[in-house]
């Protein structure tokens, strides 16, 4: 057991907990409460970095490093999509969704879908699908936390996993305390510093970029190619397209990510948030892949390539630095897991339990419904992660493909296509999820060389278009919704000299005043 690493891990957490305790106890002034509770709005930088940290952490530290280790530079196809994902997210749906969700008064991403495509069935299916898939995604975070902790501390995996799961669940139940110190904004900076520190140590060890690439060339030239190790993906553009799309447009369909748009300061801050996301992505996203690629030179023949980043840090950094960097990485993993669990619990309580099982549920009943689900996910997740842990990479790719394929057209068309109606959205969600799931389950990718994400998004998008057009006369989009969609798009039409100062926070009131004036002449 590495006592130095454990010591610095513990010191790190004690300091952060101490800051949080002090802030709440002594600094618990109206200012602090105002920050936490006063409805202070979220600015573009925080929105962007929060979105990025929620989307990545666990995968980036295990899956990305492992992929780089196995496939070499081919892995950077995933990074390409990831870097552009932030801009696509904010520019395609960010501003309009922010305004439309405000007009709908929707609190969760699933509630937003139901209000845009009025249907109880849609909410039930979307809610259940999201709860299942996000629960599965949390599994990846459990495995990442358990594996990482076991490696850097030397604690046996089952115990490390139990500690990670317990901390994540406690974090979710009592997260308010930690949230003071661990804002996602802070996390994003810590994650960035952590991976850059490891990367610099790697380059220093290998004698710089050119020397590292020369060494890779000597070891296996195909690791430097764009087609993967042994040119295994040569000419498979369908797979490459999937690798690029999965993290670029895939995020557009993630309910827990699109929720962030709903909390944005103003629709016009979407553009600035996109720039922040891209700047952060440029530095952060390629780094774990590159560490994985070069790890093959430092630690050849690893039995579990997903541990490449942890192993490299363990080998190259001094024990104290490893402790601090690992603490930061673990905190990032836990922060992601707790966001996911919170979102899953909220959807389960509000979108499923209160909406379909107990409409008059009290506050306590809602909390117990969410906690029950979180505990169930934790227990099932622990058992799977203990008995036969799948690779973090596979879990993330599976979840992203199914979520993205199912929800992407529904969210994008909600703001961009006035004819997108309830049957179109419902069928597109079902078809997208089924195609992406079956594609992976039956190994169709190997037969067709087309990635599940590509197949899923094409199927769900075409289903949305065909079904919406075919059912337009029977299920037209209600006039009230069309009016709100129209309103959500109006920000573009405001002259430039107004749009710089207008934050559209009075859109709802303006709509009501317009109706009132219309009725009263």
């Amino acid at each position: 057991m590495n006592t130095t690493v454990i010591f610095f891990l513990v010191i790190y957490y004690i300091v952060v907990l101490g800051i949080g305790y002090w802030a709440l106890r002594n600094g618990g002034s109206k200012d602090l409460e105002g920050y936490l509770l006063g409805g202070r709005k979220i600015g573009p930088a925080t929105t962007a970095l929060t979105l990025q940290t929620t989307s990545m952490s666990g995968f980036m530290f295990l899956g990305a490093g492992g992929l780089g280790y196995i496939q070499g530079y081919w892995a950077l196809w995933y990074a390409v999509g990831d870097i552009g994902g932030g801009v696509l997210n904010f520019s395609i749906i960010g501003r309009r969704m922010r305004k439309l969700s405000q007009l709908f008064g929707a609190l969760t991403a699933i509630e937003y879908l139901e209000k845009r495509y009025p249907s109880g069935a849609l909410r039930l299916i979307s809610g259940s699908l999201t709860v299942f898939l996000l629960g599965f995604y949390v599994l990846a975070q459990f495995i990442a936390g358990g594996k990482g902790m076991a490696l850097v501390t030397g604690i046996p995996y089952p115990i490390a996993l139990a500690i990670a799961v317990t901390v994540i669940v406690l974090y979710t139940f009592m997260g308010g305390y930690l949230a003071v110190a661990y804002t996602d904004f802070f996390q994003s900076l810590v994650m960035l510093i952590g991976v850059l520190w490891i990367f610099i140590a790697v380059l220093y060890e290998l004698g710089g970029f050119t020397a590292a690439n020369n060494a890779l060339n000597s070891l296996d030239p195909t690791l430097l190619s764009m087609w993967g190790k042994d040119l295994g993906f040569e000419g498979q553009w369908g797979v490459v397209a999937g690798a690029i799309l999965i993290f670029s447009i895939g995020y557009l369909g993630w309910p827990h990510v699109v929720t962030r748009h709903m909390a944005m300061k103003s629709p016009t801050s979407a553009r600035e948030a996109g720039a922040w996301a891209t700047a952060w992505n440029l530095f952060f996203v390629p780094t774990p892949y590159l560490i994985g690629i070069f790890a093959v030179l430092i630690l050849p023949g690893m039995s579990d390539p997903e541990m490449a980043i942890f192993q490299v840090a363990n080998k190259l950094l001094p024990a104290a630095a490893t402790g601090l960097v690992m603490a930061a990485i673990m905190a990032a993993i836990m922060s992601t897991a707790d966001s996911l669990l919170l979102q899953t619990g909220t959807i389960a309580a509000r979108d499923l339990y209160q909406r379909f099982i107990n409409p008059k549920a009290s506050e306590k009943q809602m909390i117990w419904a969410s906690r029950g689900l979180v505990m169930t996910i934790a227990i099932i997740g622990y058992c799977i992660a203990l008995i036969e842990p799948p690779s973090v990479f596979n879990v993330v790719i599976f979840t992203t493909s199914v979520l993205g394929s199912a929800f992407l057209p529904a969210y994008v068309c909600a703001v961009w296509w006035r004819k997108a109606n309830m049957p179109g959205a419902l069928s597109s969600i079902i078809v997208g999820a089924l195609i992406a799931f079956c594609w992976q389950f039956f190994g169709v990718t190997e037969m067709t060389t087309i990635a599940p994400m590509v197949a899923g998004v094409i199927s769900s998008t075409s289903t949305m278009i065909i079904v919406s057009l075919l059912t337009q006369s029977r299920y037209p989009v209600p006039e009230a919704i069309l009016e709100l969609i129209e309103e959500s798009s109006r920000v573009r039409l405001i002259p430039n000299n107004i749009s710089s100062t207008s934050n559209n926070s009075i859109a709802t009131q303006a709509l009501e005043i317009k109706k009132f004036i219309g009725k009263n002449g």
């Binding site: 009592m174 308010g176 949230a179 919170l342 506050e363 039409l493 107004i498 009131q509 303006a510």
Partner: protein, 165 residues
């Protein structure tokens, strides 16, 4: 129709003169046809909460307002009000009942706290209705467009923007 009503209005800084200045500075046009005022209704609640922390429960209050026309809930900062007599035709009609508003406000506060604290906590929320309040909006009509100006923040929203703009 011409009935007068005594209402509580949130104190505002943007009077008719300032509203005209804001609009003329931003729109760069001076074909103002008319300026009207409308009082927008809200239900105002105070949510008394107890946050479970490691060292016990911390008490705090969250102010919440529910739009009495659309039913949308939100948190609110502290504000002062003044009593004012206004004409009936300047008052937007409430379409939401206070019982419904109270439930919406409570649900909003729960969700708001869950998101802010990133936790599924039992906040022991007790909602107290603090009455109906109104916020003034200015509506400025120009030859080709109308805009709404928030009398507190100065936020602007077009009412009927010309589509070819």
């Amino acid at each position: 129709m011409n009935k007068d009503n005594l209402i509580s209005v949130i104190e505002y800084d943007i009077y008719q003169k300032q509203a005209k200045e804001i609009a003329s500075n931003l729109l760069m046009i001076d074909d103002l046809l008319s300026i009207k005022q409308f009082y927008y209704p809200y239900f105002y609640f105070k949510a008394e909460c107890k946050m479970p922390l490691l060292y016990g429960r911390k008490k705090f209050t969250v102010n919440s307002m529910v739009d009495a026309c659309s039913g949308h809930a939100a948190t609110a900062d502290l504000f002062d009000t003044k009593r004012k007599i206004v004409h009936q035709q300047e008052l937007l009609i409430k379409r939401v009942k206070i019982e419904t508003a109270k439930i919406k406000a409570k649900n909003y506060v729960i969700d708001h706290l869950n998101r802010k604290f990133k936790a599924l906590g039992n906040y022991g929320i007790s909602m107290k209705a603090k009455g109906e309040i109104y916020k003034l909006f200015w509506v400025l009509e120009y030859t080709n467009k109308s805009i709404v100006i928030d009398s507190i923040t100065g936020d602007i929203e077009p009412l009927n923007t010309i589509r070819s703009a």
